[in-house]
Amino acid sequence: MSIHVRDVSKAFGSFRALDRVSLDVPDGALLALLGPSGSGKTTLLRVIAGLEHPDAGTITEDGADVTERHARSRGVGFVFQHYALFRHMTVFENVAFGLRIRHVPRPEVTRRVEELLRLVRLEGLGGRRPAQLSGGQRQRVALARALAIRPRILLLDEPFGALDAKVRVELRQWLRRLHDEIGMTSVFVTHDQEEAFELADEVVVMNHGRIEQRGTPAEVFDRPATPFVMDFLGTVNLFHGRVENGRAFWHGIPIPVDGSDGTDARPRPARVYLRPHELDISRTASPSGAESSLAAEVVRVAPAGSVTRVACRPCGADADVQVDLPAERARDLGLRPGEMVRVTPRTARVFPVDHDYVI
């Protein structure tokens, strides 16, 4: 089922949670709403579920306007952030709840609940109470309960937020497989970009009640539409510089600007972003000449799994530059704090100075 959100606004007192948001979710998509806390992502999800009523705007599902339809009759599956399991009921009764409300015959309820418990790999735990389960198990009970009413839309609010790191990774791979199996339209909220990128077909980045960018994980990461998206998606080196002929100048050395055709010859001030993995370190000036690399002193070397994070201080600069090297390359170089190296930027992203934002 497709969802269309049109010009939806929602305020809580003077706080504007959603500001004329429009969003289309195609049938069968798995979409992530990504943003910092207070960005409006959870409110948007709750508005789609009918748990919040928008102050303005409309929600349509497959062309039918459901804005005024009560949450009770939306038939949407919703997984709450803290799961909101009925604590006084067993796992079985939790999953059966929606079916009992719909007066589904008893044998059918038993059959469906057992099937769902198998699906979420909780067979045999139907007699337990929520308090007797681990966090990951509770999460899957919540999911089974939402799926029991055969919703055509599944909404998940920070589905992995309350879990520890290892379980989180396992569960999200499992959820991706489950989505591919069932194929219903799904939207989930997260503040974790890794989670959004790994799980979703498309990512919607939100900030201050508005959508900053929407696209596939690759699009959003490689071509951030706004400085906010750039900044929000991982560590960046930011400096104020000058752009001329499709090249940004950093401490006097030119860096090719990503996505620029080089036609804009007019020099202008700009905010220049360098991703740590788009910088390289070498001991000698690269063959293309000294003019494209910068002398810097190694300040800190911190191995972090597949990459090694190196902090360098360019000569004469007052701030460090963060460089992420592949672990293998870092091992070959054998960098030590205090030694002098050459830092070569491969590409940069540039936003005009007036294109400002707030987090």
Partner: protein, 296 residues
């Protein structure tokens, strides 16, 4: 997420709020039952709380300022206020002090029979006050269990001002304990240990670190005890002897006037008592908000 070279220039956070809000639709609640619960609640609160107290105040107001003063400020009434306030004040103070000791033991010390002690503190909440009044008077008369020792020493616990204070302590003790106890339980022991490490002695730690932290709760307990003690009737009527000018409290005087069908005077005294209660309630609410704010 973290910009290494931090950008210093950020527009003010409320910048997007500068545009006008779109027109608001009528809010619809997702959870059911607002209308029904609001109807029941307002019906009960209006008919049972607001209406009776409003009628009381209006009746008193209809006496006019001079009439009200004449009814509410007779020498006997003034004496009754004095007895009520002083007995309740002393009882609340005693309760607060004794309550602090009991609360401390319940919260901090694994005393023998601690659970029983904990349960016994609630007896005054469950025991009818008339029973308390009856048995206290029986205990402290000359022939009573305790009176046989105390009366020869000149301590008259029945039919006296002391008797009023005794039953009021009984009635208000649970309030004094139950307000302070959770606060002691939530006290951060590390703060005390830090004080000890910094060289404070046991008593210095208590008076400079622990007591200031407990003070809002103790004061709240005092105010609650005072409110309870001021309005108490059932137990006092048995033990005080109800002698006008000496051991007659304000609620007893109201009943006395009522039985003489002196409605105007009864109403006027009741309004004075009501005013005291309401101002105490407001004080307690303010204190409890402070308490909640402090504990965060």
């Amino acid at each position: 997420m973290i910009a290494l070279a931090h950008d210093t220039h950020r527009p003010p956070a409320d910048a997007p709020g500068a545009r006008p809000l779109p027109p608001r639709r009528r809010r619809r609640a997702v959870l059911p039952g607002f209308g029904l619960s609001a109807a029941i609640t307002s019906l009960v609160v209006t008919t049972l709380v607001i209406l009776p107290l409003a009628v009381l105040v209006l009746r008193a107001a209809s006496l006019g300022p001079a009439g009200f003063a004449a009814a509410a400020w007779t020498p006997r009434a003034r004496a009754a206020y004095a007895v009520s306030l002083s007995a309740a004040g002393i009882a609340a103070a005693v309760s607060s002090l004794l309550g602090l000791v009991v609360a401390w033991v319940l919260a901090r010390i694994d005393a023998p029979g601690g659970r029983i002690l904990d349960a016994l503190v609630d007896v005054p909440l469950a025991l009818p006050t008339a029973v308390a009044g009856l048995v206290y008077s029986a205990l402290y008369v000359k022939t009573g269990w305790l009176g046989q020792w105390l009366v020869p020493l000149g301590i008259h616990g029945a039919y006296s001002f002391l008797g009023i204070v005794l039953v009021l302590v009984f009635v208000s003790l649970p309030f004094a304990v139950r307000v302070v106890q959770p606060v002691i339980e939530s006290l951060d022991r590390e703060t005390e240990e830090a004080a000890r490490i910094l060289g404070a002695g046991r008593s210095q730690t208590f008076f400079r670190v622990v007591l200031p932290a407990l003070l809002p709760a103790v004061v709240t307990g005092f105010a609650l005890s005072l409110a309870r003690a001021l309005g108490e009737y059932g137990s006092v009527v048995f033990i005080s002897g109800n002698m006008p000018f000496r051991t007659e409290i304000a609620p007893v005087l109201i009943v006395a006037r009522l039985e003489e069908f002196a409605y105007a005077e009864a109403t006027a005294i009741a309004v004075v008592l009501l005013g005291l209660s309401v101002s105490l309630l407001v004080t307690v609410n303010a204190l409890q908000q402070r308490l909640a704010a402090n504990s965060q």
